[in-house]
Symmetry: D2
Subunit: 284 residues, 4 copies
């Protein structure tokens, strides 16, 4: 098994783009493992995820970015380059409810999810024992209206100190400030416990019960300045009936939350998510 | 195969209700085939669907309503009584898009759905040939802002003339007036092409595409005075991705619309739907 | 809206294939609308569906096949070429149960499915009235053990006479002979009323009920000489419970059968299905 | 919140059974919270789950069994009686793969699943650190062909010592002997990584990949003497495509295995599962 390079790119659509990139790989003796492209017809914009094997590839990892940048200039592309052997560093934020946190850490523990978790941050002490039992540092950073700005600076410092690549909000019940959000644009993944855009806000299961819906959902999205309105990465649903109380919905919903968050993190880590405006492209 | 009686009932919750009703059936030599009950804990209200075989049952169909009414008086119940051999009379309303109409008529044609369809009503001529080929009367009743009240009276007269029990709006793009809705309370079934309460109104697939959701849905509900806000009977969903254009969503959505409407009509005809406030109970 | 060309191709995997094809389109002034590829790692075989706009394309439809063939020779490719404005000619075979037939013809009727249906063939008279009401020829070809070979020849002649491109078995309860199957290889689409490979054969709902499964399914596949064992195109499932009788399963299953068959036909007509050994690739 | 009594019962079907039981509760001043019944029409057998509030109930927990037994004798019933405040004692068996174990222990940890876990048993050392970090005893009981009988006796002794009520096989890759199975009849819950009855045995994802199915599944069932053939409690599925390798299927399947096992355990603990022959009734 050799490693692969992964190029995520987008640019104004025009003829010949796929040929340009596939020839680039071919001419440097790379073998394309996977190519997925999409043209946003309204925006006239081209998106691509190109993955190729580095076995016998003519360029080293230090040479590759320059070569890509040259291509990019000719086509007005934005791009990012990744490698299949990278292990991203993930911070998890949690409040009191532990189910998403435990699920995601279990996946790290069983090596199903190839990330490093240098720290967990919480505004409550509840989840500390379990996290520390796994040998992960638990930073309790309580937030009040007065302390919010200061505490967020402290959190940002912690993330910098631990070289965190992206943040997972595993039922973190605090709204992050705009500075924080801007600093981690498209790198903060939240789980919302409803099928957005239905039932945004604080008590979606209560609202779902009151409306009498027959299906409830969960939504994972990148965090933007607009609450519960960022680009959706993944959603899933489950049937409910009149016999489900709000507590039953909460119970069923927990499984959705775990699953939808885990799938979004998985896609993010696989470098299969591209953001286009307020929407995502999620490759297969 | 003998026929069954079906009693739908609700009343303030108290102890002993199930015993009262099951004894009533037993004492008249009936055999309970199915009993489903539900207590709405917030409303403190009891709901039940009781189905029993009429083989050897001591009361005739003409005696039964009085006997039930006596029970009902003692408990402050509202109730309705049905028989498994009844064939309800269904009118279908349609505008231009024929897919839901064709689907529901095909189900009648293949005897999968045991209803009579005395007439189809439309504000457009498009679907006439197919409907008439099936030997069903097609009444074109065009609606304009000026003619609306008058034409609705005409429709009401048509429904009365044909002894219509309930109405199915198979993508009927007109809003029914309050008098009509009141006259057929809980007897008008609409299909809305979104996962309500997300994307009510006229162009849900456009809204879904713009928001970038990963799942789209359809919702069948009883029509009330509030547009797209009546009691939900059935919902279902299907996955979409960034590669689905609005046209693709419309295509996928048609299957949902057909299916969700057909299931709602089926449950209604089976007398398995009870309305409680703005929600439904749908028994299995 | 201009038309597109669609090239389906497969060949032994090697470096540079995507570049070769995308350059071919680019050099003739075509614009790639969609490219999907797949490498079967075990078989070391490359598969691709390439769709490009013919607007300003340098080659005419009469020149294109030769140009593709030249490319193909260099790479040992098998290929087929299609155009988005083609309207394939579909024959539907049915026995007594009409639900899949009615569904598929309704889709043609509402122009959701862009095919011509020159004829329906059945070994029973039951579905004749509905089919003829739609203005489609209905050929009753009864099959007995003695007449089978002769009647199949008659059917083959009918299909030839009507220039039929592919055949849909919409609950056709006869096993087609090997000559017929060979003649329409990967062009006969069957619907089987179980989640294959579970419950092949004649009475899958009975078997499912007896085994006590909690989910039932339907499977659409290309017909091969091995009964219920051809390449699967599409499957879907629905939940059942202990309270579902066999009749309930049959009822729920009908919706699956309709839907799964319609989706398979849709994908086939969109030229999105490629067969690889006994499996299919179904592009998005 | 008061506690409830839960009566699970079955007997030959006859008229008046529901009345008998609901009157029994009413006459002792109980309030029925939930009643679900089912008649197996083929077996002519009646099944019921009756749950009533013990608030003001006239019989104590020590008196209730005798009172139920008297009823039972008259009707040839088998029955079991439970209380909503019982906390069952669950043992988890695991081999090397930890994902189902971690999931189920996380649910206990977050108090989503109200059980005691006195011990985990494994034929491998791999999962020890995580289990012990949670403060749960980990017993490594390696199994070889020679030691199997002896080691199973040791396991049975451990379960007895810890008063274990039921056993969860969380990807335990050993076949339990008939004595063990008989001792814990309908109290051993296994997760199989396929949509049974498709793909029983050891390598279901390989088989699914080879057959080219478009949907994979997982199945949770009670363990019987026949491998992978016991009464099914819960199943679920997920879509796969040609682009999913066997490894991708394994990855997707893990989520199914976790979820399907957790749901089956939840239903079992809620006393909502009744076994009838080789099938289950799972109440809502």
């Amino acid at each position: 098994m050799t490693d692969n390079a992964i190029l995520l790119t987008s640019c104004p659509d025009k003829r010949g783009l796929i040929g340009t990139f596939s020839n680039f790989v071919f001419e440097h003796n790379g073998n394309i493992v996977n190519l997925e492209q999409h043209v946003d017809a309204e925006e006239q914009r081209f998106f691509m995820r190109l993955e190729w094997s580095l076995e016998d590839f003519a360029l080293t990892r230090s040479e590759l970015p320059n070569a890509v940048e040259q291509l990019a200039r000719n086509h007005g592309m934005s791009w990012s380059l990744h490698y299949s052997d990278e292990v991203p560093r993930m911070a998890v934020f949690v409040s009191r409810q532990s189910h998403c946190l435990l699920d995601i850490l279990s996946r790290v523990q069983s090596r199903e999810l190839a990330v490093e978790v240098p720290l967990v941050i919480s505004n409550h002490p509840d989840c500390r024992p379990f996290v520390e039992a796994l040998g992960i540092a638990y930073h309790e950073v309580p937030i009040s209206a007065d302390s919010k700005a200061e505490q967020e600076s402290r959190i940002i410092a912690l993330l910098a100190e631990h070289n965190v690549d992206f943040v997972v909000l595993a039922r973190y019940m605090q709204i992050l400030g705009p500075e924080f959000v801007a600093r981690f644009a498209n790198r903060i993944i939240n789980i919302h416990h409803s099928f957005l855009p239905a039932f945004p806000g604080a008590r979606p299961y209560h609202s779902a019960h009151e409306r009498g819906v027959k299906i409830i959902g969960a939504t994972s999205h990148y965090v933007t300045r607009d609450l519960d309105a960022g680009p959706i990465i993944e959603q899933d649903v489950i049937r409910v009936s009149h016999s489900d109380s709000i507590e039953d919905m909460v119970h069923k919903g927990r499984d959705l939350e775990r699953l939808v968050l885990a799938r979004a993190v998985w896609k993010h880590v696989q470098r299969k998510v591209l953001v286009s405006g307020n929407r995502t492209l999620v490759f297969t």
